[in-house]
Symmetry: C4
Subunit: 159 residues, 4 copies
Amino acid sequence: MSKARNWSAIKLLALDFDGVMTDNRVLVDQEGREAVLCHRGDGLGIGMLKKAGIEVVVISMEPNPVVSARCRKLKIDCIQKCEEKLRALQQIAAARGLKPRDMAFVGNDVNDLECLRWVGLPIAVADAEPEVRKAAVYVTRRPGGYGAVREVAEKILEA
Amino acid sequence: MSKARNWSAIKLLALDFDGVMTDNRVLVDQEGREAVLCHRGDGLGIGMLKKAGIEVVVISMEPNPVVSARCRKLKIDCIQKCEEKLRALQQIAAARGLKPRDMAFVGNDVNDLECLRWVGLPIAVADAEPEVRKAAVYVTRRPGGYGAVREVAEKILEA
Amino acid sequence: MSKARNWSAIKLLALDFDGVMTDNRVLVDQEGREAVLCHRGDGLGIGMLKKAGIEVVVISMEPNPVVSARCRKLKIDCIQKCEEKLRALQQIAAARGLKPRDMAFVGNDVNDLECLRWVGLPIAVADAEPEVRKAAVYVTRRPGGYGAVREVAEKILEA
Amino acid sequence: MSKARNWSAIKLLALDFDGVMTDNRVLVDQEGREAVLCHRGDGLGIGMLKKAGIEVVVISMEPNPVVSARCRKLKIDCIQKCEEKLRALQQIAAARGLKPRDMAFVGNDVNDLECLRWVGLPIAVADAEPEVRKAAVYVTRRPGGYGAVREVAEKILEA
């Protein structure tokens, strides 16, 4: 992996949802309705990024509306029920005239590998699958759902 | 325990629900409605197994509909409110022409012991009761509800 | 504390609710409705005690109906919104002709101290307040809400 | 930081909500409704403070009604959706004729820094952001949502 940790180049931060914005667990009730545990510090970090002019988007395969519900609160774009994450990410890039080197992606599981290999700054959460950690140039200290996104936001803003 | 860890023979994976697909905790609200915390990585692992032609079923004594709600989402068969788990497992085997050696069972508590002793590949989650861990030929590294089922899925698929 | 760990004498197990049957946390929603995380293994342990003829009761100061909702599921008596826990426990004893030496009480916080000092077998969960642990003759290995009650049930049944 | 740990001077305890009264996580459901995990021991500690004549208030930037729902249960004042926390705190002080040295503030994140620098007794929870811990004269042993407020209450009452 010869990618550099070029935090200062980042213009867009793309995030997987489950396992990155959450601890990868889902609360399921008797009717099959779902809920997830998100992190207020992540929300604060995303707010800071947006204020600094860095866009944040979520790309998720999960069809449950809990994904978009969280993104609405954070006022960030969300592509969910996404069968091909890399294609979605490339469309986002094309629409904004961005190159892979302008983008960071944070993932936790094997369905994030294509996106991680494509962006300039691939990031894995602390508790990502081993294969995902290997594909990343930076592994967060904090696990998904416990401030991993906040940590990434601070790294980008410090740069 | 002279059973071998014959992962490659497995054609059907049977799972207890609470403590295996969850962390054995249940959220109870003011009206007594229940909800449980499941793991997206387990869901992904079960999807991989099904794609590889390995059937996954849940066998649970718990009467609460939260069990079947989760199984509906994962599109796997579910026998719940099950007074005699071993009999249920044997009926599943008979209906499919499977032998004990074709089957793995993942459990966490003493009401899983009969099934564990019957199948060819008995598995306990990391935080199972001591007696259950003793009855298993493999104990997962991850606790129930935190990716134990995903770990089992990977072991089966690697074999 | 000269009380002996006389597990075999126990005819009734009295439990505080929050912090004993739960991890002392409460989920609060936008309307102030509450929910708590209980443990399936505790439920199984309580079922074993009842089958062995040992009664289980919950005594709680908490007014929220989540307490009785959980006890209904477990089919155990529940005295909640209880201003004077010791008096409630003494009434339970009197109604059944039981002496303090026939009873165990499991607590986690300072409002359990009176009951703990009265019963023959005072028990604290692993994460109880220091003063409560000092008043106990047995401190569980497991924290409240993570199988502490199951552990107590097994100790009583082994005796 | 030359502020002393003058616990005995405290007449009012001001608390941030998320990350102090909770573990900084938020449960989000399919409709975007939120719920948070609070701690019964914190509630008990706040009750003890009130009984001892020490006022407790919550000051939060979070707009979600879950904040005020929890405060209603605890019967404490709550200023939420608060854009300028320090100004709110100063108004609270002025209305009661209190000086900064009469007040403690417990925070966890950077939006608490102004309040922490203003009060006589600035406190950070164990898992607060590094900058926040540095601004505090006392860092709790317990993390937010796991009894940090109870710990603060005991320190104030012992003094």
